[in-house]
């Protein structure tokens, strides 16, 4: 049996990778993918704890997170498409029209 702690560490590393992607990538799409990565890290945490606690609730919450991720993906990709249609790019560095 493997050490669940390592699974937790894996989750945190994935989460950090996702954060790095959000901070560093210029493409809105890749940033969004990085957010998906973060959500998966969350799911992994939940599954590990679900197993540890012997409580299915964690997996149920995972289910909800997936549903939310799907909903976010639908809306988010639509927004990205609309953005692209208007601006012909999805480069976040060039999306700073609104500023002080």
């Amino acid at each position: 049996m493997f050490d669940y702690n390592h699974a937790l560490i894996l989750a945190f590393m994935l989460f950090t990778l996702g954060t790095a992607g959000v901070l560093l990538r210029r493409s809105a799409l890749v940033v969004f993918m990085s957010i998906e990565l973060m959500l998966n890290a969350v799911n992994l945490v939940l599954v590990v704890f679900s197993r540890l606690r012997g409580d299915l609730d964690g997996q149920v919450i995972c289910f909800f997170i997936m549903a939310v991720a799907a909903a976010e993906a639908a809306v988010g990709l639509a927004i990205i498409i609309a953005f692209f249609k208007r601006k012909k790019h999805v480069d976040l560095d060039r999306a700073s029209l609104l500023r002080s």
Binding site: V42, F49, D57, V68, G76, A95
Partner: protein
């Protein structure tokens, strides 16, 4: 046996039914030129929700769905508040939809769902439901922010809001996961250090807590999680901005209040210093930034951030009276912001051309009534006596002082001192400057006129006679 009392969700159900009705019936009816159908349905929905919320006043605390749903005075109060917000935003948006020739079916549907999301957030007793409510509130707002997707600024606001919102959601979710993992439950009252079983890992539990705070801090736009606010407020259509600045903030603040005052009250010593700094930063940054804004919506955005800081002050104060003060100020903040944004929406003109504060020069000559009402809202935001803004601040500051945070009160007072300057600048422009270029005289639709009259009256009324609401809120704060 689990209690499945669905009646506690009556306002949400009514609103959902209305949204479905609009979606199903609007297209065929529109072809038959039955204009105004969806507006009326939405209106009926919000009025119904308001009525149902009002009906619940005074009923004992009840819970349903196995304790996932709680119907206490706090949730009742917020249901009423959200119904009022939805109604006001609806009234504001109809002239805007007509003016800019925007499709309204989906707009109304999304507006209704966003309000349902707020309501769900306010009555959820545990974090999964709360989170789904938050998403139900956020997703429509992402779309509404970019509703005029052909405008560069609007679509940019939408994208920004979406990406940052999704990022904040991910942080919040990690917090929820850690909370659940360490405590094994997500009920707001039991997810708490010191209540019930010890967490599996204290550091992870604490990390989870702070992740949740960050996620909610994003929604209430607490510094340093606030940066999206001004950009998104500026880019979004004004009625949507009004919804974001009042509804989102109130809903997230309510959850924060539940979290801090119920489950986490015993750990106050842990989070108090952080909240202290959060409040100070939020007030100060909000006010300082508002000083240098030339766009009225940005200015109101930063003023909203500063007000979030005052609200955080009330959370620091804690206790029954502190919570009552927070809820009172929430009502006041909502009313004066709705009024101010309604006026901004009226004056910006087709295509939202006139949003600079210099466009308000000479407004007193063009539209004396609008200028007078705007003055009242701004004075209230600045906290001048005889307005709800003053009363709210007064209660919050006294409660904070009573709780022993003298430094916090001094900083808050200095902040409200600074804030007078930028509110005053707009009044000064309205009354003491001549017009800056030709502006059309703005015609006020009757519905918006009623809304403005209502918000003005409430702003003044709660400033002069705050007793009844406060008494009710004291009772409410005692129960939840």
């Amino acid at each position: 046996m689990t209690n499945w009392n669905v009646s506690l969700l009556a306002p949400e159900i009514v609103l959902s039914v209305c949204a479905l009705l609009i979606m199903l019936l609007d297209p065929p009816l529109r072809r038959k030129r039955l204009a105004g159908f969806s507006e009326s349905v939405a209106l009926v929905g919000f009025l119904g929700a308001l009525f149902l919320g009002l009906m619940r006043i005074g009923l004992p605390v009840d819970s349903s769905f196995g304790g996932f749903l709680i119907a206490d005075a706090l949730s009742t109060y917020l249901h009423i508040l959200f119904a009022v917000i939805g109604l006001s935003v609806l009234i504001m948006s109809i002239p805007w939809l007509r003016r800019d020739g925007v499709r309204q079916t989906e707009f109304l549907v999304l507006l209704i769902f966003a309000v349902i999301g707020m309501m769900i957030m306010s009555c959820s007793a545990e974090m999964v439901t709360m989170f789904i409510g938050l998403e139900l509130l956020s997703l429509p707002l992402y779309v509404l922010a970019g509703y005029l997707r052909n405008r560069e600024r609007t679509i940019e606001a939408s994208l920004k809001y979406f990406l940052l919102g999704a990022f904040a959601s991910a942080l919040l979710l990690m917090g929820i996961a850690l909370q659940w993992g360490t405590y094994g439950t997500l009920h707001l009252s039991s997810v708490a250090p010191g209540s019930g079983a010890a967490p599996l890992s204290l550091p992870l539990a604490a990390a989870g807590f702070w992740l949740v705070v960050v996620g909610l801090g994003f929604k209430v736009s607490a510094v340093p999680f606030h940066f999206w606010t001004a950009d998104v407020y500026e880019g979004s259509p004004t009625p949507v901005t009004a919804l974001m600045s009042t509804g989102t903030k109130a809903a997230a603040m309510a959850v924060l209040l539940r979290l801090m005052s119920a489950g986490f009250a015993p750990a106050a010593i842990e989070w108090m210093p952080v909240l202290w700094w959060l409040a100070v930063l939020t007030m100060s940054v909000g006010n300082l930034m508002a000083l240098v804004q030339a766009n009225i919506k940005r200015m109101l955005a930063f003023s909203g951030i500063a007000h979030a800081g005052y609200l955080l002050l009330a959370i620091c104060a804690g206790g029954t009276a502190g919570n009552a003060a927070l809820l009172f100020y929430l009502a006041g903040y909502t009313v004066m912001n709705l009024g101010a944004f309604a006026i901004v929406g009226l004056l910006e003109g087709k295509g939202e051309r006139f949003q600079s504060i210099y466009d308000y020069s000479g407004l007193a000559k063009r539209n004396p009534w609008l200028a007078a009402m705007m003055t009242i809202f701004l004075l209230s935001l600045a906290g001048i006596p005889a307005t709800v803004g003053f009363m709210g601040k007064f209660f919050i500051f006294t409660e904070t002082l009573k709780a022993g945070h003298i430094g916090l009160v001094v900083i808050a007072l200095l902040n409200s001192l600074v804030s007078v300057y930028y509110y005053l600048r707009v009044i000064y422009l309205m009354y003491m400057k001549d017009e800056w270029g030709e502006k059309p005289v703005c015609r006020v639709p009757a519905s918006v006129g009623i809304l403005l009259a209502f918000t003005t009256l409430v702003t003044l009324w709660l400033g002069v006679a705050p007793n009844r609401l406060l008494d009710a809120l004291m009772a409410a704060a005692r129960i939840f």
